[in-house]
Structures are given as structure tokens and as C-alpha cells.
């Protein structure tokens, strides 16, 4: 409701402003076109990089200085700190980078964004940008209409640049025309009062436009048209730095606790830097004068001086805050503690990850592993094991089972509580994420979706099996009791092997590790079927018992094969060329059958 009132008030003020002054209309149109250009530029970089940025980010965040450099370079190259922030938040949310690295990137992005002021100050005010904007826009739109992703991305980048140029041109024109009717410098306020008031105006302008870049361009164009004083422009730039954190805070609202911590660090950095800049504004001003003289910038070139000021106070902020980056991260972890692990809620599927294909895939993989963990508990209980029993070294066969020790489980309630909503979150996320993906990435997502479906199917099979298992596990008939006990033991051992493969730290999980599980599964199935035939022949089982056991051995086989398939998709993270080679070496069903036949022949030979 509050948001709607604010939006309505802004629209009303703008409409009144448009009616009052055509120059105000031109300036506002310039800002709107500039913001649209930034959106287009971001869209282009997203399509154009095709995961390059994500790969770079993954490799360059092991040391703080690398994270910082990544923040500076990527923001300077893309001229969008918000895109870098969004990527950083999504990486943090999915656990691909740590908080310290994230904070380093955000610090760097703050410095990288100052390059925009340099570019506009150095070229934007001297050149007639509109004359370049038109042809760039034409080439850009042709690119946008193309199908191949890189061309489309390039098209968006060019269109973005075109709109940025056009926006700056209109802002410049508007301010120059404004100068003829009103002199805004008459509203200039001297001293610290002016600094504080204009800082607040800078904050508000950035919050409304959701872009410090746009605010800065507005400040530079107003300054170049002498509509604001240099001192007030400095204060506005400080305000823009604080205002930009609001965008990050809004972005972090949908992120997990890590994203929220990063937004808090971003706010703290910008707030402390701004506070220092206000307190020492005259000293920093003197430093700017000295640097300007060193760079041979004329005394009256306030635009370039503003760009220097913007860079200097952000650099000072980094120099002051960088030594405390680890302490800041630790403090934030204490102030904003980890949320208790919620089995029912998704942990990694954040909106910020959707836009980045590789990150989205990692998020889905982690969430499906979360689903697997929940299913592991449900299936273990369905087999009358405690999860801890399976994960321990205890001999599963030694655990005494009877109706008194049955693990109580309500499958439907457990399914609704820990599986259903999580699974539907994953499916919903996949359907949204796959739109931006290349065929190879979409294949990975498809495999993960299939793994999720297999997990759910395995639970359903366990539920079917549980009905007879709980009935016959305590039966007076020792044969049926023994057979059901064997089925649950086989599955319990398989689950233990799977968790061993997953957690094997000495040797990363390999596709080849699953071959012996497949062999076990086939051997178990054939043993159960052989034993069943034998018991029927010997009249040891009633017809009803035999039918139940026959059905349930099929369920057990299905659970085993689904869990193995899930493991193959979720646990193996080797690079794609290694995975391809492993696929070629992994045994086929026929080869597994051959080994079983050879072993059986050998055993027969031994017994003879």
C-alpha cells in the first residue's frame, strides 16, 4: 500500500512538472531514456557473456584482492554495479562464494562504478552524443532482432549505449534550456547545512531512479550547465553513493541470509564512506585540487574534478575498510545468524539465481540434494531404520526388528511436510530458469528434474512396500519374515554405499563408482527371485504372502535403481570431458550381466 502511495505521488508530481515546464519534461525524458538504456545494456551483457562472468567470478574469488579487482573491472566494463551486485548475491545464496569474497566484490564495484563519471565527464559533455546515438540504435535494433544469442546480446548492448547517449543528450539540452528561465544556483546552500541537505537530495534521487549512475549523470549535466554549484554537486554524489545501497537492500529481500548480510555490508561500506566524505569534505576537496593540478586539469573544469572526487572518496573508503573485511564478515554472521536448517523450505532457489544459467543449475542441484536428504530420512524410516543407523558403521543385520521397534511413520504427512512443497518449488524454479538456457545447460536441468522425479517415485515405492513390510516383519512365518528383512537390509546397505560415494573425500564421486551398486542390485534381485521360487515350491509361503513378496521385490528393485540414477546425477561433479569419458567406461547392463554369469560359473566350479 505504502509503495502504491509513493508511486502515485511520484507520478502526480511528474505530471505537474511536465505541465509546468517543457524543460523539466526534457530532463525527465532524458533520465527515463538513460535508465532504459541501462536495462538494455544489462540485458545484453547477460545474453552476451553466456556464463563467462560466472566462470570468471568462480575463479577469481579465492583472495580478497582478486575479489576487489573483479568488482572494479567487471563494473567498469559493464557500467552497472547493480548487475555485478545481483550476480554476487546469487553466488552467495547458492554458496558458490563466501561472504568475505562477496564483500570484496561489492567494495570493488563501488570503485568500478566511478569510471562512469570519468567517461561522461571526459567525453559526454564535449561531444554531441545524439549524433552517435542514432546510428548505434539502428545497428542495435538490427542485432536485437537476430536469433543467435551473441548477436542478440550485442544488439542489446548497442541499443543500451544508444539510449544512454540519447538520454544524456536530452538531460544536457533540458538543463541548458532551463538555464534561460530559472537559475537553480540561487537555491544553492553554503557550508555543512548545504552538504547535508544536498546529500539527502542525492539519496532520494537515487532511491527513486534506482541507479546511482543516472543520478551522477544528472549531477554532471546540471553541473556542466551551471545549474548547481560544485560544492552541492559533491554532496549530491555522496548521497548517490548511499542511495544506491537501497537497490541492493531491495534485491536482498528475496535472497537468503547470505544475500542479506552482503546488502548490510554494502550499506555499511557506503554509509561509513559517505560519513567520512562529509566530515572530511574540505580535506578531500584539497586533495582533489592537488590531483587536478597534477593531472593538468584546469581550475574551472568542475566536471572532471567531480569525477576525481567520486573516485577519491570511494578509494579512501576501500583503504579504510579493507583491513576490517574479515572482521566485518564475522560480525555480520553474529548479528545476522544462520537461519535454522528448515527441511521444508527451499534453501538455494533465489530469484537472483534465475537470470544466470550456471548459477541456476548449481542452485537446482543443491536443492535437489536437499530433497534427496529429506527423502533419505523418509525412505530409511519406511525400511524401519533410523537415518543415523544407515550413516553409521554398525552392522545393519544386527539391528533387531519387530513390531515393537518399528519406526512410526505417516508417509502422507511426511511427504506433504518435507517433500511436496520442496519438489514443487524446484519444478517451478526450473520452468522459469530454463527460458534463458542453451541446449546443453537445459539438458543438465532436465537431468536434475528427472532426478527429483525419481526421488519422489522412490518414496512412493517405499510407501507401497511399507504396508507389507510392517505386516510381515513380525510374522510367525520365519520365511516371509526373513525375506522382508533381507529386502530392507539390501536397500539399507545400498543407501549406506550411496552416502559413502557422496561423502568420499579422498576420491571425488565418479560415475564408475555406481557400477558395483548396479551389480549388487541385479544380484540381490536374482537372489530374491530364486529364493521366492524355492519357497513357493516348498510350500513355505501362502499364496497371499508370495504375491506380496513378488510385488514388493519389484518395488525394492525400483527403489534401488532410482536411487542409483539419482546418485549418478547429483553426486558426480567432474568436468564435462571427464564425465563423458567415464560414461564410455561405465559398464552397460549386458556387461553387468556377463560379470554375474562369470561369477556364478566360478562359484559353481568351486562347489563342484
Amino acid at each position: 500500500m505504502f509503495k502504491k502511495i509513493i508511486l502515485f505521488s511520484i507520478l502526480l508530481t511528474l505530471t505537474y512538472g511536465f505541465w509546468l515546464s517543457s524543460d523539466f519534461k526534457e530532463i525527465s525524458a532524458g533520465v527515463a531514456i538513460f535508465l532504459f538504456g541501462m536495462l538494455s545494456l544489462e540485458e545484453g551483457f547477460k545474453a552476451f557473456t553466456g556464463g563467462v562472468l560466472e566462470k570468471l567470478l568462480r575463479r577469481t574469488t579465492d583472495k580478497t584482492w582478486k575479489s576487489l579487482a573483479f568488482g572494479v573491472v567487471s563494473t567498469a566494463a559493464m557500467q552497472s554495479s547493480s548487475l555485478v551486485s545481483v550476480i554476487t548475491i546469487s553466488f552467495l545464496s547458492t554458496g558458490l562464494i563466501g561472504l568475505t569474497a562477496g564483500i570484496g566484490i561489492v567494495f570493488g564495484a563501488n570503485l568500478g562504478t566511478t569510471t562512469g563519471a570519468w567517461l561522461i565527464a571526459a567525453f559526454g559533455m564535449k561531444v554531441n552524443l545524439a549524433s552517435y546515438a542514432m546510428p548505434i540504435l539502428v545497428f542495435g535494433v538490427i542485432g536485437v532482432l537476430q536469433k543467435p544469442s551473441p548477436l542478440k546480446g550485442l544488439g542489446y548492448i548497442l541499443t543500451g549505449l544508444g539510449f544512454l547517449f540519447l538520454g544524456i543528450h536530452h538531460m544536457k539540452e533540458g538543463f541548458e534550456a532551463f538555464r534561460d528561465s530559472i537559475d537553480l544556483t540561487t537555491y544553492a546552500i553554503e557550508g555543512y547545512a548545504g552538504i547535508v541537505i544536498f546529500t539527502v537530495i542525492g539519496i532520494l534521487a537515487t532511491v527513486i531512479m534506482q541507479s546511482s549512475h543516472a543520478t551522477l549523470v544528472l549531477i554532471i549535466t546540471a553541473l556542466s550547465s551551471q545549474q548547481i554549484t560544485y560544492d552541492n554537486a559533491l554532496a549530491l554524489a555522496i548521497g548517490a553513493n548511499i542511495g544506491t545501497t537501497v537497490t541492493a537492500i531491495i534485491g536482498a529481500m528475496s535472497a537468503n541470509i547470505q544475500g542479506k548480510r552482503l546488502a548490510a555490508a554494502h550499506f555499511l561500506f557506503n554509509f561509513i564512506t559517505a560519513a567520512l566524505a562529509i566530515i572530511f569534505i574540505y580535506q578531500i576537496g584539497a586533495l582533489v585540487e592537488w590531483l587536478s593540478a597534477l593531472l593538468k586539469i584546469s581550475d574551472s573544469n568542475y566536471i572532471l574534478k567531480l569525477a576525481i572526487f567520486h573516485s577519491v572518496f570511494n578509494t579512501l573508503g576501500i583503504i579504510i575498510m579493507l583491513p576490517f573485511i574479515n572482521k566485518l564478515a564475522d560480525k555480520l554472521k553474529i548479528i545476522m545468524p544462520d537461519e535454522p536448517l528448515n527441511r521444508e523450505k527451499s534453501l538455494y532457489l533465489s530469484n537472483s539465481a534465475i537470470e544466470l544459467p550456471d548459477t541456476a543449475i548449481t542452485a537446482v542441484r543443491k536443492e535437489t540434494l536437499h530433497l534427496f536428504d529429506n527423502a533419505f530420512t523418509v525412505i530409511a524410516h519406511g525400511l524401519n531404520f533410523h537415518r543415523t543407523d544407515i550413516l553409521s558403521d554398525r552392522n545393519l543385520g544386527d539391528l533387531n526388528v519387530n513390531s515393537a521397534t518399528l519406526v512410526p511413520i505417516n508417509f502422507d504427512a511426511e511427504y506433504d511436510r518435507t517433500i511436496k512443497s520442496l519438489y514443487s518449488d524446484i519444478i517451478h524454479f526450473i520452468s522459469r530458469a530454463q527460458i534463458n538456457m542453451k541446449p546443453k545447460q537445459a539438458d543438465q536441468l532436465f537431468a536434475l528434474r528427472a532426478a527429483g522425479r525419481d526421488i519422489v517415485e522412490a518414496i512412493k515405492d517405499t510407501k507401497h512396500m511399507y504396508k507389507n513390510l510392517s505386516k510381515y516383519i513380525d510374522s510367525d512365518n520365519q520365511y516371509i519374515r526373513g525375506e522382508y528383512n533381507r529386502l530392507r537390509l539390501q536397500l539399507g546397505k545400498l543407501m549406506r554405499e550411496l552416502s559413502y560415494i557422496r561423502n568420499n573425500v579422498d576420491d571425488s564421486a565418479s560415475l564408475l563408482s555406481f557400477d558395483s551398486l548396479k551389480l549388487d542390485m541385479e544380484v540381490n534381485d536374482s537372489t530374491t527371485n530364486g529364493e521366492l521360487e524355492h519357497l513357493i515350491r516348498e510350500n513355505k509361503l501362502s499364496a497371499q504372502m508370495a504375491t506380496s513378496l513378488m510385488n514388493d521385490s519389484t518395488y525394492a528393485y525400483s527403489i534401488a535403481s532410482k536411487l542409483i540414477e539419482v546418485g549418478e546425477v547429483l553426486f558426480v561433479e567432474s568436468d564435462s570431458s571427464m564425465k563423458d569419458t567415464e560414461k564410455d567406461i561405465a559398464l552397460t547392463d549386458e556387461e553387468v550381466a556377463e560379470i554375474i554369469a562369470e561369477d556364478s560359473d566360478m562359484n559353481k566350479g568351486k562347489s563342484v
Binding site: D507, S510, L512, D515, S516, L519, D520, V523, S577, M578, T581, E582, D584, I585, A586, L587, E591, E594, I595, E598, D599
Partner: protein, 85 residues
């Protein structure tokens, strides 16, 4: 396509194929090393197996590793044959 460009493209394709073969050989050697290590560990385990059931289970695992090693050797042989040709 002009002749120099055709030569350039052919050279690139050939070098890509060679690089892919080199990468595959590297992967196969890595798999072979890991499987041999796994096989040795299983053999040691087999010697200390305490009951028939675990002996059978370990023997099965050794059979799987041996079958996989055979496939690796076959693939490596194929690669060397292609190289010779």
C-alpha cells in the same frame, strides 16, 4: 572458399581433433590410475575379509573394477591405433 582459408580451416579441425584425443587419453590415464588404486585396496580388503558374505561382496567389486580396467585398456588401444593411422 578460397584455398588458403580451406587449409586454415582444415588445420584447425585437425588440431581440435588432436587436442580432443589428447584430453581423452589424459582422462583415461587418470581413470586407469584411480581404478588400479581402488583394485589394490579391494585386494587388501579381501585378504582380511572375516566372513563369506563380505568376501563375496568384495570379490564382486573387484570383478567390476577389472571389467572397467579392461574397457579403459581397450579405449587406450583404440586411441593409439588411430594415432598410428
Amino acid at each position: 572458399m578460397k584455398f588458403p582459408k580451406l587449409v586454415k580451416v582444415t588445420r584447425k579441425v585437425l588440431s581440435d581433433t588432436k587436442q580432443a584425443a589428447r584430453e581423452r587419453e589424459k582422462n583415461l590415464r587418470e581413470i586407469q590410475r584411480k581404478l588400479e588404486k581402488k583394485g589394490r585396496k579391494l585386494q587388501e580388503k579381501l585378504e582380511y575379509a572375516q566372513d563369506e558374505e563380505s568376501e563375496k561382496s568384495i570379490s564382486q567389486k573387484i570383478s567390476v573394477v577389472n571389467a572397467q580396467l579392461k574397457k579403459v585398456a581397450k579405449e587406450l588401444g583404440k586411441l593409439h591405433q588411430d594415432d598410428a593411422e
